[in-house]
Subunit: 362 residues, 2 copies
Amino acid sequence: MVSTIFFTPGPAALYPTVQNHVNEAFVNNIGSISHRGKAFQNIYEETDKQLRKLLGIPSDFKILFTGSATEIWERIIQSTVTKKSAHFVNGSFSSKFYDFSKELGFEAQKFEVPFGEGFYVDNYEIDQDAELICVTHNETSAGVVTPVAEINKLRAQYPNALIAVDAVSSVPNPEFDFSKIDSVFFSVQKGMGLPAGLGVWVVNERVISKAKDKLNQGGIIGTYHSVLSLVKNAEKFETPSTPNVLAIYLLGKVVADMNEKTVETIRKETNEKITLLYEFAAKSSILEPFVKDPYHQSPTVFVATVKGVEPSELISKLKENGLTIGSGYGNFKSSQIRIANFPATSVENIKLLISTLEKFYA
Amino acid sequence: MVSTIFFTPGPAALYPTVQNHVNEAFVNNIGSISHRGKAFQNIYEETDKQLRKLLGIPSDFKILFTGSATEIWERIIQSTVTKKSAHFVNGSFSSKFYDFSKELGFEAQKFEVPFGEGFYVDNYEIDQDAELICVTHNETSAGVVTPVAEINKLRAQYPNALIAVDAVSSVPNPEFDFSKIDSVFFSVQKGMGLPAGLGVWVVNERVISKAKDKLNQGGIIGTYHSVLSLVKNAEKFETPSTPNVLAIYLLGKVVADMNEKTVETIRKETNEKITLLYEFAAKSSILEPFVKDPYHQSPTVFVATVKGVEPSELISKLKENGLTIGSGYGNFKSSQIRIANFPATSVENIKLLISTLEKFYA
């Protein structure tokens, strides 16, 4: 296979240190160690510690592991909702989060804006009996961000509801205020630069307490991956069933590398890279940013409408030159492209992508 | 870390070719490719093809992927049961499968024998309204097998019920008669010799049809990982959400290696190795097979009560000599040991383990 640099929004480019950590994992028998032994507990504890440092997760939040972030959409609804959830929907992923609530038999309030637009949360009135408010921080499909400042407005207005933030394609870039949210979750194949197969679920005591209430009222909260079962096992740095041990190990190692670089540097570079992309688009004749409102332009997934050339042709041309970018999502496949701006992608790689685009489409 | 040979029942020894396949996976960008592209579809299709060959899975069965076999306990109950399931319980894992049905709000009929004993299914009367009969082919905790001949008796007696077989710690050894069962499932960190993080779920049309009926009657079958959602995506060799792509790739590669060796050779060696272990136990002063009835002695997980020495001491002694065996499960930790007999473990390794035991405990 031709060597290529990935700019796809997930699965995405691997963080540069991943392969070395995998080799080390084989030396350390990570594929064979028991998930009920001290060696695994140490791995969980280390990954937990590194994640807290990188993302500023307070000690009163638990860090849990699932098979994917998609699973967490289901688990958080199943574990905490008895009647109604509320959803900000502005793309394919936030829409699926909403669908899950209905499929699980609950009422789901939906606030929807067209693909490519974002939210000013004050414009919406959430029902006071909504138990869980679901916000997708970064819509991977449309490249729209719901800024942390918007998310932070919810708590004061809806003090009784749990606030859950899907940060799948934005972590570790956003600086969340954990006093204003109850749960944040993500998968590892995007910003973390790891192979897919692990979801990370951060929850506070309010989530746990709500699940206990639901269970005590005779509600069904699921089985091994209910938040209560996950938390009970996490108390001793274990998981309810055999997890993706290798992924938890690799996550700890990669996050340690990120911490060494410092999250501040990563965020600074993220800003630098996305600025380069928007500056290029501003003067380019072929790319037009899809998201018009700068407040809602994602810093981590750049989405553009392609003009004067077929997106598939542009994608092929770049691929021949060792650069793999993402297609538009769903119905936008024939008109858009997507470029991920995750920590694994260096400033140099973004510059190379831009100069290659300039060369072919000057 | 000291180099060691794993004889643990899961996570277990890696199949000898795994590390090479992982290296190749990095060359082929398996960690970054899209799960919505042709490259991934080819991987799924190849793994599907190799599994069908190895296990003799007929074309009218679908092969689906989840995060773990534990997840499949939940998904099959959630997808197919509206009122009642029935469970043969003879250890910790079959007991959890039973618990899941109750936790999901269903009636669950339980047939239970003490730890270390097995089932003659004719001795039990399953309620005719049980919709799902759950059999654990091999109880990893106790080393007890429910022979395929027993499982095959169920269909004629209970033609309306779905028959689901947990084959977590026995695949690829048993030769299932797929005309007599509706579903079989397993995880990859045991007999398949891979790192944990993937469940494999094989289902026939009867399972799919029952899920459709449940949904049509207003039942809740879950969301992205309901059997219907998984099957719909599997039709085009895709998954509902980003799966553990690397694990699906590695599974296809390792099963191809097993197919090259042939499943007949693997089963012959499995028999040869377990015979060596039982012959050793018969003459040993320290090991007494836990399962007394030869009909129920597991060919893939050997469990023995340890006499004249503390199991923890025996385990440590072996570990110092580069051999890692499993402890007894749960309450049996202080009296038993477990030795896995999976394809990754060679005849030579079993002979080395036995000769080491003979040296220290003659």
